[in-house]
Structures are given as C-alpha cells and as structure tokens.
C-alpha cells in the first residue's frame, strides 16, 4: 500500500514539471506569434498611414483668354480643347520669376501634378465666367513634393542623389512660407483607379474589382459547396466506389497549388467557353474552383455534427429527406458552414497566383462597374504598387495593405454577425 504511494509520489514531481514546461512552451509560442503580428501591423501602419494624406498646391491662375485660346462665350467643346497647361505654366512663372532655362522650367512644371490642367479644365467648363479673371486654385502636388513634405527626402543629401534639386527645394520653402502648400486627407486614394502617377493613383478600381470578384465567388461557391456537402453527407450511397473517389478528390483539391486553378480557368473558361478575360466574372469562376473544396469539407463536418436525433424526430413526423435537410440539418449546421465559407473567402480575397493566368494581374485604370468590366483586385494592386519605382508608391503599397485588411475585417464581421444569428443552444 505505502509502496504504491511512494512510487506515485516519486513520479508526481516529474509529471508536474512536464506540465509546467508544456504550458511554458505554449505561452512562449503564443508570445512569439503575437510579437510578430505586432511588428507586422506596426511596420505597415507606420509606412502606410502618411499615404492617407496628400499635399496640395495653391496657384493663382490667370485665366487669360489669349493664353487659353478661348473666351467665356465659347461652347463646351471649345472649352474642352483650351490650353489649360499653358495657363498653369504662365501662372507658375509669375510666382517664380527666377525660373529661367530649360532645366529650371521643367523643374517648375514638376511641382504640380500633371493632372492639374484637367482639374482646371473641369472647373472652367463648370463656370466659364472665370475666364478673364485671376482665381486661386488648389492643385495636387507632384509626388516628389508630397514625399518631401512628409519628410521622406533628406535635404542634406548631395543634390545628385535627390529627385528634388536645390532650386526646387528653395521654391518649396517659398511656397510653404506663402501658405501655398497644404496637406489634406487623401480622397484620391479611395476614389481613383490605378495610375502611373502616385498622386493620382487610388484603390477604388481594385476595391470594386475585389468586391465583384468576391460576389461572384460567394454566389457560386456557397450554394454549390453546401449542396455538394449536403448531397455527399445525406443522400449519396455509402460505401460506393464513385462516392469514395469523389471524396478523395475533393480532399486533395484543397491542397492543390492555386496557380493550377488559374491554368484551368484559362483553358476552360477563357479558351473554351469564351468568358472575357481580366473580368471579375472569370476571376470569380476561378476562385470558386479554389474555394469549393474548403467550403465542402467544412460543410460536411458541420452537417455530420448535427445530432441524428433531430433528423430522426423530423423524419418520424413525416418530413421528407429534403425537408429535414432544409428545416433542421442546414440551419443547425449553418454556423460551421459559415466558418468554412469565411476561411474560403478570406483565402480567395488574398489570392493573386490564379489571377495571373486569366489576365487580372494588369494595369487597369478604369473603375469596373460590373462583372464584365476589366478589373484587378486588391492583392494584385498591392503587388503592382510594390513593384513601382516611385518613392510615393512605397507608402501607398502599405496603405493598400491596410485597406485590404479593412476589407477583410468588414467581410468577416458580416459573416460572423450572420453566424451569430444561426447559433442556438441545444
């Protein structure tokens, strides 16, 4: 009796030590992952937050009919063709009379975004009465000026290593002193499509592209996935060789590299069925193929976990198998199905590789308005910007990542809210 007791006591200390060690390792791994998450978020936000501001320049534009080539009674067509670029150039030279010579003249022009003439055109076409007067306009500053304003260009660097030359820095100082430079919230980032000019580039095109692509993916993969899972779980003959074959294949498909789905999409949807390339429709179709295995596997597990007693009760009352499925099994399995759908959709949202093959990794300026417009998606936008040489795209890349994360959070919150509504106590 006491011998047994002694023996147990001898092992106890060892057991407790192992337990403490195990818990310690658990805490350490949690701590490490949390640390890396913090580092990731910190770097992204530190780099990306400045992109939510944009520098604007105020220029008093002399809308001289002689320079513009039109007067205030001109038709809209004539106003459209007027020489606004020259008007801006002339007005800039008035602020900086020292700009002489080709180099300095070009340097002067490069203070303002090349979208300024269009901005001026839109204003004048709206109010032709402005012609003949001098009026102060705020224009987007060129990306280099913007980057300098955010303190990312060191003025102590040798001039040859800087994008902004000494005379340009002097002008910027003067503009600052006159209150002609101002940082404002960067609405362009949210309203514009992609652009080669950082100050004119925005994620609106990519957001809409992602939205339409996700919409197509969700509308296809959710019903198909749930129906496939319900059939395999509730109706398919058991121990049938074909069913086993399909099951093995579904499980394997979940592990197939996603670029393969892109190749399949190219071969089947674009080349065979003639679905227009670069569109959210074909992107959604390809991502559906990729998401389906995830949704099917999760849904089958959820359907399997519905207590058989509930199904039996329904069948015993005279519900048909399909009624049992829709009245009881699916509602009770819905939280699990939605969890699988969230995981699948989140994967699809972050996917670029399969889109490579179907033309969605492209420079698309126009904002898509439907599933048949050429589009790109958020992760592709991040990739494209990260690949651009302009300094201002560095912060915009991080800003796009922040927006992508926001998109993900919104999408998942919606799914979790939906899941809450289905969760019931037994």
């Amino acid at each position: 009796m006491t011998a047994t007791r002694d023996r147990i006591e001898a092992t106890l200390r060892k057991r407790y030590r192992r337990e403490r060690l195990f818990r310690f390792f658990g805490l350490v791994s949690l701590g490490i992952s949390f640390l890396f998450l913090l580092i990731l978020l910190f770097t992204i936000f530190r780099t990306g937050l400045p992109a939510f501001q944009q520098t604007w320049i105020k220029i008093d534009v002399d809308l001289d009919p002689a320079v513009l080539g039109v007067d205030r009674h001109a038709s809209q067509d004539e106003l459209f063709g007027a020489n606004y670029a020259k008007a801006i150039k002339v007005s800039l030279r008035k602020i900086f009379p020292d700009a002489k010579g080709r180099k300095k003249k070009r340097g002067l022009k490069n203070l303002v975004s090349n979208s300024a003439p269009w901005q001026l055109r839109d204003a004048v076409m709206k109010h032709p009465d402005l012609i003949g007067t001098t009026h102060a306009f705020w224009f987007l500053a060129k990306d280099e000026v913007d980057v300098f304003m955010k303190g990312r260009i060191d003025r102590n660097l040798p001039e040859s290593d800087r994008r902004l030359k000494d005379f340009q820095l002097a002008w910027i100082d003067k503009l600052l002193a006159e209150g002609r430079l101002e940082k404002r919230f960067n609405t362009t980032l949210f309203t514009a499509g992609d652009s080669r000019e950082p100050e004119q580039a925005g994620v609106a095109g990519a957001i809409m592209g992602s939205f339409f692509t996700m919409l197509v993916t969700l509308l296809l993969s959710f019903p198909i996935g749930v129906a496939a899972a319900a059939y395999l779980e509730e109706f398919a003959p058991q121990n049938n060789r074909w069913v086993d074959f399909i099951e093995v294949n579904i499980n394997n498909l979940a592990a197939v590299p996603s670029i393969i789905f892109g190749l399949l999409g190219l071969a089947v949807f674009i080349n065979f069925f003639g679905v227009p390339r670069s569109t959210p429709l074909v992107g959604g179709l390809v991502l559906t193929l990729m998401t389906l295995p995830t949704i099917i596997i999760a849904s089958r597990a959820a359907i399997k976990s519905v207590p058989p007693s509930i199904k039996q009760a329904a069948i015993g009352l005279g519900a048909s198998p399909v009624q049992t499925l829709f009245h009881h099994t699916l509602p009770l399995a819905m939280p699990g199905i939605l969890t699988g759908t969230i995981i699948g959709m989140a994967q699809a949202l972050g996917e670029t590789a399969p889109l490579l093959m179907i033309g969605m990794v492209a420079f698309v300026v126009d904002i898509p308005h439907g599933i048949l417009d050429p589009a790109t998606v958020m992760p592709v936008q991040v990739y494209l910007w990260s690949d651009s040489p302009e300094r201002a795209f560095v912060e915009r890349t991080s800003a796009a990542i922040i927006i992508l994360l926001g998109f993900l959070v919104v999408m998942n919150s919606a799914a979790i809210l939906l899941r809450r509504r289905f969760e019931r106590k037994w």
Partner: protein, 296 residues
C-alpha cells in the same frame, strides 16, 4: 417456477442446473433455449397494425426472424426483451423509420388497417403522419415550444389559419399534460425544459399531427421515476384515442401500462400474451427467465 424447466425442449434437467457448472455457464445454457415459433396469442381480431413473417436484415446480418404480430385498436402493447433482441428494430419497421438506414432490408407483410405499408404506392411521409414516433432520448427541435408542436401540422398543412394552428398546439399540449406548465412560455426554447417535460413535448409534437398509432421507443429510459410516472399516466389517457406500441426495458412499466406484452429474444418473437398473464404465468421458459431476472 422450476417445475416448468424439465418440460422445455433442449433445456438442461433440474439436476444439471444445480450441478457444479459455474453461474455464467448456467445463464448461457438458459440463453440457448431453442425458439420454435411464437407461443401465446400474437393475433387479435380486426388489428390496427399487423406484421406477418417479418424479416429485417442489416446488410448480411439478420436482426428480425419471422416475426408475426398484431397490434389491436386502442390498446397499449409492450415489447420487452434483453438488449439487442430486435424489439426497437421491429418497432421501427412499423413506420418505415428503417428506410433511413441504407443497408437495412425489410421482408414480410406489414399492414396498417389492412394496407401494406411497404407497397410501392405507399408513401412513407403519409405513413409517418399516421404512425407517429416518440424516441428514447427526448429530442425537441432547438426551436420554441410552440414551433416544436406546430412543426408537424405546418409540414402537412393541417391548419389553414394561425388560429387553427394555435388551437392544434394548445390541444396537443393539453393532451400531453404539458399545457399548464408551459402556457406562458410557448415562445421559449423547447430545449430549456426539464427532461420529463421535453419528452412530453415530444409526445405533444407527435400527437399534433393526429396520428392513428404512436410508437414509443423506450420513452422513459432517460427520465427519473417521477417524470416516468407522469408519462405512464399520460400513455394510459392517450390509449382511448390512439393505438400505442411501446418498447421498454422496464418490466414494471410494461406491467403497469400495457394490455398485451410481447417478449422478443435474439430477433425472434417468443411469446405474446395479455400482460397480467405474461407476468404471472409465462408460457415460455425464456419469458420466465427474463421476467424473473435470470438474464436480460
């Protein structure tokens, strides 16, 4: 009771029973008694349901061997027997619940009011509306009490208006003896009730579609004695409107509620007789062994 022993074929003599074989072997030998058809009175005049030469297979394994039994109108018939004897399987053939098991195969003739319930033109959905079922474990839907009871009537379109549905729900809950306890909480979840209340809710749910027969598969095995007594009283009241077949492990329950008792053994129907006769003067040796507690 020992005087019956030597008359049974294949049974050891009285001397062999008391010889030096260990108790386990003794039980086994009593277990091995040969069953040659059903003794007693399995048939009644004008039965509500009847089974003739019923054989049920799970894949290769046969679970029910040539069972023939009638269930009379407005009676409670109890089915007793040791675990795995096939009584639940037999019960489930009576409303084709076994159809949901893919490997299950049913042979023989099973009739409800003289109609073959396994005939190709017989709809299992209609059959299950006429032959309701109450399960071993209370299994209310995770819905409100009202929706639990209203599920069947809604499914079969038994109520044209909301008021009619309300009436059916109230009537069913009253009949199941649950209405007074839950009348103020009809929209609370049915899963929040106690075990006994849940089982009565399941009975209310079953009688809401106004079935002709109610099959009960060990309806009180998950309940405490007080809840059990309530259910048994309820069964006695329900008998005037419905025909009830109840599978039970409790012989006291069979003795208390049923008019006839059927004893199953290893997939065979051994004896069917009026309940008081089964529990006082069983005709078959196996029945006697079971009810006297020698095995089971």
């Amino acid at each position: 009771m020992t005087d019956v022993l030597p008359t049974m074929p294949g049974l050891p003599t009285g001397e062999t029973v008391v010889d030096d074989t260990p108790p386990m072997t003794e039980t086994r030998e009593e277990f091995d008694v040969e069953i040659k058809g059903t003794v007693g009175a399995p048939f009644v005049d004008d039965p509500k349901m009847s089974a003739r030469h019923s054989n049920v297979f799970y894949g290769e394994k046969q679970a029910i061997f040539d069972v023939s039994l009638d269930i009379g109108r407005n009676e409670i018939i109890a089915m007793i027997g040791p675990s795995g004897c096939g009584k639940s399987t037999f019960l489930r053939t009576l409303n084709r619940m076994n159809d949901t098991i893919p490997i299950c195969r049913v042979e023989g003739e099973h009739c409800l009011d003289g109609e073959d319930i396994y005939a190709p033109d017989q709809d299992p959905v209609l059959l299950r509306a006429r032959v309701g079922m109450v399960f071993q474990k209370p299994n209310p839907f995770p819905k409100s009490i009202y929706d639990n009871v209203a599920y069947g009537p809604r499914l079969h379109g038994l109520a044209r208006t909301r008021a009619e549905l309300d009436e059916i729900v109230e009537k069913s809950l009253v009949r199941a003896g649950l209405f007074n306890e839950v009348k103020d909480d009809l929209h609370k979840p049915g899963t929040g009730l106690s075990g006994g209340q849940q089982q009565r809710l399941c009975i209310a749910r079953a009688i809401a579609v106004d079935p002709e027969v109610i099959l009960m598969d060990e309806p009180t095995s998950a309940l405490d004695p007080i809840a059990t007594a309530t259910i048994e009283e309820l069964m006695d009241e329900l008998k005037s409107r419905y025909t009830i077949a109840v599978v039970t492990h409790s012989m006291q329950q069979a003795a208390r509620v049923s008019q006839r008792t059927a004893y199953f053994h290893m997939g065979k129907l051994v004896e069917v007789n009026p309940t008081n006769q089964v529990f006082t003067t069983p005709q078959h040796q196996l029945t006697e062994n079971y009810i006297t507690g020698r095995f089971g």
